[in-house]
């Protein structure tokens, strides 16, 4: 099973296994990793599953869709490596991916 390392804003690390096809948001919330709210439940329509992808992994992801872009763009704290974790499906290629969590969701 591929794994994900989520790093909270305070540095706490959570390494959890994920099933291929499940989104990183689902993997985080089902493993009780704090820091992801996911109000809309994975519909790419609230932007409260915002994450910062570790620089070395950014290029391994499919680019954000127009819808994800429009939601990310509403966040004034957006960074170049910002993504919505509900839009990133787990796969063998992403085994070991490192995901940093922002201090707050909004």
């Amino acid at each position: 099973m591929p794994s994900v390392k989520f790093i909270e804003h305070n540095g706490t690390e959570h390494v959890v296994d994920g099933t291929n096809g499940d989104s990183l948001m689902m993997i985080a919330t089902s493993n009780l990793v704090p820091g992801i709210d996911a109000d809309c439940g994975g519909e790419c329509s609230c932007a409260t599953c915002h994450v910062l992808v570790d620089a070395s992994w950014v290029d391994k992801l499919a680019p954000a869709t127009e819808t994800e872009e429009s939601m990310l763009d509403l966040n004034p704290d957006r960074e170049s490596n910002s993504r919505l974790s509900c839009q990133i499906p787990m796969s063998d290629e992403l085994d070991g991916i490192v995901i940093n969590l922002p201090e707050f969701q909004y």
């Binding site: 329509s45 609230c46 429009s70 939601m71 509403l74 004034p76 201090e103 707050f104």
Partner: protein
């Protein structure tokens, strides 16, 4: 039209007994009498995407199921906000453009000009201020004497907050409440305020805010704490004409005022209607965290948002035609048992309580949603420290509107600890 429009009273008493074609939830009387839930249950059961040929504001579609609402709200390319977000038609001689009633790209740049005011860092700075204010308001209330909770607490706390967001002269803050109420209660929207009075109040609002604008123009704002400075000094908004400035002011005033105010009142009412939940809360104040989004779901302070189809779209077997108006009834979707377990019950310790429609979804999602939640959380934390019980003494007096679901009056008596 300054009186509530008279409608067939059986629609209110038993919406299952009349032909579907007679149901029109855009009638303010439906909400003023709190008769909406059975009406929407019938629509969800019999015709969840329903065309009203004879709506109070003309023909429109009611979208009543959670998932259909989500699909429309997300699809801003086909369902436009540009013609307005309420069913009321715009008045050509008094149009107040604002970013919630715009599509991208203009929506995006105007919204971004002001979003920073509710950025997490600012919320953290506001938290101790709001807590202190809530404490001061609560400490000033009479114990054992009946009073109107809406005016003494709900309006006072939200108006203080709003004055802070605008850096508005504190002693004049009730003007904000007044302008907010005038903006949403117009007769053309089915409310009690004559249109001429509404316009006069809003022009007075504009004049006041133009003075503040002039004072702050050219002065770099302290980072993100004052909406007027942000708009006056952002290249995307500094060239707005007066009516667009007014439109955005009304949006921010109503958005920051009515909604939280009515959720504050609603919480007191719901806990009184559900004493077992009140007992659970007092036994475990940590439940405030999940109670707050539950209050916002159960209240649904804005009942719907309107969209206009830009092309023919099929939705749940119906064809919505280009140009048709739609009301996404958040208040109905929030009671949809296909998505929300036991939706008609107020349950303060639900799993996943933020999965509700009250803030909308997609690019127009409420930008102040975390501030609203914070205000409610801090207020309830301070309430539980002080009072054994907030006792509701009479049924509330509700607002005459099909858009704002609110209260004018809730009589309560406080019992100290």
């Amino acid at each position: 039209m300054s009186e509530a429009v008279v409608i067939n009273s059986s629609v209110l008493e038993d919406p299952w007994s009349v032909p579907l074609s007679e149901l029109d939830p855009s009638q303010p009387a439906v909400f003023q009498s709190n008769s909406q839930f059975e009406l929407f249950e019938r629509l969800r059961t019999e015709d969840p995407v329903h065309y009203h040929e004879q709506g109070l504001f003309g023909p429109y579609w009611s979208i009543t199921k959670f998932n259909d609402i989500m699909q429309v709200d997300k699809d801003h390319k086909r369902f436009s906000s540009d013609a307005g977000i309420t069913l009321t038609e715009r008045q050509a001689d008094f149009t107040t453009p604002n970013f919630i009633s715009m599509d991208p790209p203009k929506h995006d740049v105007q919204r971004k000009a002001v979003t920073g005011v509710v950025a997490p860092m600012n919320l953290a700075k506001m938290e101790p201020i709001i807590r202190q204010r809530a404490a001061t308001i609560l400490d000033s209330l009479p114990i054992g004497e009946q009073f109107n909770w809406v005016d003494a607490v709900s309006i006072e706390l939200t108006t203080q907050m709003l004055a802070t967001l605008f850096d508005f002269p504190f002693e004049d803050r009730r003007k904000l409440t007044y302008w907010s109420d005038m903006a949403t209660s117009g007769e053309l929207a089915g409310g009690p305020t004559p249109e001429a009075d509404r316009r006069a109040a809003l022009l007075e609002c504009l004049e006041y805010f133009q003075r503040l604008w002039r004072e702050r123009e050219g002065t770099p704002p302290e980072i993100g704490i004052d909406l007027i400075s942000m708009m006056a000094n952002n290249p995307e908004t500094q060239k707005m004409d007066p009516m667009e400035y007014l439109g955005n002011l009304i949006l921010l005033i109503v958005g920051g005022n009515d909604t939280t105010r009515n959720s504050i009142t609603g919480g007191v009412l719901f806990l009184n209607e559900n004493p077992e939940q009140y007992a659970k809360l007092k036994a475990n104040p940590g439940l405030i965290t999940s109670m707050v989004p539950e209050i916002i779901r159960y209240q649904t302070p804005l009942t719907y948002m309107r969209r206009t189809a830009l092309e023919d779209v099929e939705l749940s077997g119906k064809v919505i035609k280009k140009g048709d108006k739609l009301a996404m009834w958040y208040i109905s979707g929030n009671r949809d048992d296909e998505v929300i377990d036991r939706p008609n019950e107020f349950i303060i310790d639900r799993a996943n309580p933020r999965h509700h429609l009250s803030f909308g979804f997609g690019i127009h999602r409420c930008m102040g949603n975390r501030l609203a939640e914070m205000q409610l959380r801090l207020l309830w934390e301070e309430i539980l420290k002080r009072f054994e019980h907030i006792e509701v003494k009479a049924a509330p007096e509700r607002v005459q509107s099909s858009f704002v679901r609110g209260y004018n009056d809730l009589q309560v008596v406080l019992h100290s600890k």
